[in-house]
């Protein structure tokens, strides 16, 4: 089946979600990805919404992280502090993040382009991103892949990735063994090198070459000897997305 670019993004993001884990879900692609994962390989994935929804069915798509659909048939409708503290306590596995810019250590900018006091472009700000990036064990960024977004130094570190490299998170006071895990882009899937904490290519999307990924990345991306190729969305994934998850085409 034919598919659109954001359908591919959703499917690849979805495949990163592990059954039996918990994940902070933001509005948009992560929401659809979680809804898809729950219907595919991860029925026991627990979606958490930062304003309090815990374990909702995602039968009806929410339009925001405080939306009543985030706790429809959920096990608990709690409060923002409780959910953020649950993450701070170390009980949340994954967090999904977005942003306008990312660097090779996975630091994310969703605050400003240009200087903060007089910005060229004012972006929405941290929201829950900084908290999720500080406290979840693993974060997954979902990004548009261009050299202006994958850049050597982000204008503003909204959310901590590995900061300046190995040991920097711990030196800053953040919890050991936490940090960026994956980057899902329209071109490829990236991870991080264990030793250097630098972003590395894991797999290219269907029809995308390694060369294209490198050209669209503004910093030196680690290219391992073996780079995988992501499977395109399956018919089953697409059918679920289009017919069950987002029949009103709010997002796709």
């Amino acid at each position: 089946m034919e598919y659109k670019s954001n359908e591919l993004l959703i499917c690849i993001a979805s495949r990163q979600m592990e059954d039996g884990t918990s994940a902070f879900i933001g509005t948009g692609i992560p929401m659809l990805a979680a809804a898809l994962a729950k219907r595919m390989h991860a029925p026991n994935l627990i979606p958490l919404f930062e304003f309090g929804g815990v374990g909702g069915t995602l039968e009806v798509l929410p339009l925001g992280v405080g939306d009543s659909k985030t706790f429809y048939k959920a096990w608990a409708a709690l409060v923002i502090c409780d959910l953020m503290e649950t993450a701070q306590r170390g009980m949340v596995d994954y967090g999904f993040l977005g942003g306008a810019q990312i660097d090779m250590y996975g630091n994310l900018n969703s605050t400003v382009i240009g200087p903060q006091p007089k910005p060229k472009v004012r972006l929405p700000g941290s929201g829950g991103a900084n908290d999720i990036g500080s406290s979840c064990w693993k974060t997954i960024a979902v990004m548009q892949h261009t050299a202006r977004r994958f850049m050597p130094k982000v204008d503003f570190v909204t959310t901590a990735g590995y900061l300046t490299g190995p040991g920097a998170r711990e030196a800053a006071g953040l919890a050991p063994n936490s940090g960026p895990y994956r980057v899902v882009s329209n071109l490829a899937l990236m991870g991080y090198d264990e030793e250097t904490k630098r972003m590395k290519l894991l797999a290219t999307n269907p029809g995308v070459t390694v060369q294209q990924v490198v050209e669209n990345t503004g910093f030196e991306l680690i290219i391992p000897d073996k780079v995988g190729i992501n499977e395109p969305p399956s018919d089953k994934e697409l059918t679920l997305l289009r017919n069950e998850i987002d029949p009103g085409r709010l997002y796709i």
Partner: protein, 323 residues
């Protein structure tokens, strides 16, 4: 002890617990009295130029829209704002009521960024300090607890910290580096709830966001509610009271008070209205035209609801998800 780092921005209100103690002691009381009044009276009585105000919840969900529209109507020019909001706070910015924001997020989630915030921030019309969702909620929690700060891991190592007004500290037990979040009392908190009695005892259905924290961090608290219920109903279910009367200064009866946002179990959001609004606010002229038609045009919440129309409200009531 390692070097203490400080965020660059000044706090809008002192986190000093003693000052707040004295203020609350002098100005609040536990006496039960009828606090029901109109939006107009509540805003006129409790908001002053220079005030630091905050709204709850977020994202067109249980947002105190009727009260925010009234703030714009009364033409305030010099307010400070705790910036965790969407349409409610956009109105305040668009209405030129706001000079300073302690911001965590101002955007439209799935619908994209806030053009109104962009114009205000990029022109320098408002000054902004940066916080995260949790750190702002925890700052309110510290004020609610009557303590001057709360430690956390959020914001460590980032520019968000640098452009905040927080400080780093060393844990006296573990030596760990932490962020000390200063308590954030607010001059006026504004919260929309499902039900309240005439004294201000409030019930909320669904997630309660940061209503608990904001109610307790507010020196003055204005409540709007979908329904005013008999106080006997409150006393039958005291375990449902999330905001007790002694925190509350005004109770405003505002059915569809969150419109065009949603109110769980009561009514759905008006998606089309919101979408049209967002399109319209792409330009400053569009934003001002919206304000004129929907905010300053109607002279009261009742007139606003006439503009919305009974048919639309019926439709949104019917569209709501049950339990």
């Amino acid at each position: 002890m390692g070097e203490q780092e400080s965020g660059l921005n000044k706090l809008l209100l002192s986190p000093d617990a003693n000052d707040i103690r004295e203020w609350l002691h002098k100005n609040k009381s536990m006496v039960l009295k009828d606090k029901v009044m109109s939006e107009s009276e509540a805003i006129r009585t409790f908001i002053r130029e220079g005030c630091y105000i905050a709204t709850e919840l977020y994202g067109s969900v249980r947002a105190p829209m009727s009260l925010c529209r009234e703030v714009v109507r009364q033409g305030f020019k010099d307010l400070s704002l705790a910036g965790q909001g969407v349409m409610e706070t956009e109105h305040l910015i668009s209405g030129k009521c706001v000079k300073r924001i302690e911001l965590t997020y101002q955007g439209w989630e799935v619908y994209g960024i806030s053009n109104i915030l962009r114009r205000a921030a990029e022109s320098g019309e408002v000054t902004i300090s940066e916080w995260s969702n949790a750190s702002l909620a925890w700052r309110l929690k510290a004020a609610a607890m009557g303590i001057p700060f709360i430690p956390t891991r959020s914001m460590l190592g980032t520019d968000t910290f640098k452009y905040s007004g927080a400080k780093t500290i060393e844990c006296p037990f573990t030596g760990q580096k932490l962020v000390a979040l200063p308590a954030s009392p607010v001059d006026v908190g504004i919260i929309h709830v499902h039900r309240a009695d005439l004294y201000g005892n409030c019930q909320i259905d669904g997630i309660t966001g940061f209503a608990w924290e904001l109610a307790r961090a507010s020196k003055r608290l204005i409540i709007s509610c979908e329904e005013i219920i008999p106080t006997d109903e409150i006393r039958k279910y005291p375990d449902r009271t999330i905001i007790p009367w002694f925190l509350v200064d005004a109770v405003v009866h505002a059915p569809f008070g969150s419109y065009p946002g949603e109110m769980c179990y009561y009514y759905e959001r008006d998606k089309q209205h919101i979408k049209d609004y967002i399109d319209q606010t792409e330009t400053e002229e569009g934003a001002q035209a919206y304000l004129q038609k929907w905010v300053t045009g109607p002279k009261s919440h009742a007139e606003f609801l006439e503009l919305v129309g009974a048919e639309k409200m019926d439709e949104l009531r019917k569209a709501v998800l049950g339990r």
